[in-house]
Symmetry: C2
Subunit: 121 residues, 2 copies
DNA sequence: TTTATTACTCTACATTTGTAGAATTAAAAA
DNA sequence: TTTTTAATTCTACAAATGTAGAGTAATAAA
């Protein structure tokens, strides 16, 4: 199962903080801050989905992500590739470089990355 | 506004077919096929969102997408980049090449694309 | 022309999602 | 120790989403 928008927003906070108590989470939200019960509900749902767990410290909990951002994201991208480019990563890559308007500098950097990748094959 | 999952699935069909009558759409679905009223509802919602329009031919309609797959997808990717890589396309690209397990051949192809891109800058 | 078929609109309804109040509890502050 | 505050759970509820039946109209087939 996957995260809803509200859950994903919360997840971003957890990924950034690595672990956080309720108050840290609320603090991380911009105004208007959500009610703490709202966050509690989301956290519970995310626990049910096995995206989050916590350690009990005294009376409150330190929450942390069970899923690495990288992995979560990877599934995302692969889904996109599957859906929009009938599974061709190259097609996607080509689209990507054309579309995202990278600067010359960025393109050079990317080229370097690719070169390194090629060497490992 | 953006498409829901069910709508996006339908949209994929329209993108592929470019335009289609109700029966073509239903046909494109795998078993178990949705009820035609289900599709009608989705189409109407998509019209409200300005994602789809149609031409009336006699008593039925030929539907077509108002939004190019490319554009729709572009927003998607840019959203991902914004959300997961604090807006750094390079960071995303790097992640992408590492994660998607491209073959040497694909990497070479990608490198070529990038080279061409660089030349135009 | 009568009948069957198809597409469309309206309405409905269960589920999921976003959001939060009320009640409870425990810890922290006074 | 009494009071305040913060975190949690329960419950609720409106809006969005997925899905489709009933009714209607128009066309195609008989």
């Amino acid at each position: 199962m996957s995260l809803t928008n509200a859950e994903e927003t919360l997840m971003q906070i957890l990924w950034k903080k690595e672990r956080a108590f309720m108050k840290d989470i609320i603090e991380a939200y911009p105004e208007p801050k959500p009610a703490t019960t709202t966050i509690a509900t989301l956290l519970k749902r995310m626990q049910d989905k096995d995206f989050v767990d916590y350690i009990q410290y005294g009376r409150s909990r330190e929450y942390f992500p069970l899923v690495a951002k990288r992995d979560y994201f990877s599934k995302h991208v692969n889904g996109l590739i599957k859906n929009f480019f009938n599974n061709s990563a190259t097609q996607f890559a080509s689209f990507f470089t054309e579309e995202t308007n990278l600067s010359k500098k960025e393109l050079e950097a990317l080229k370097k990355i690719i070169n390194d990748q090629i060497k490992t094959k």
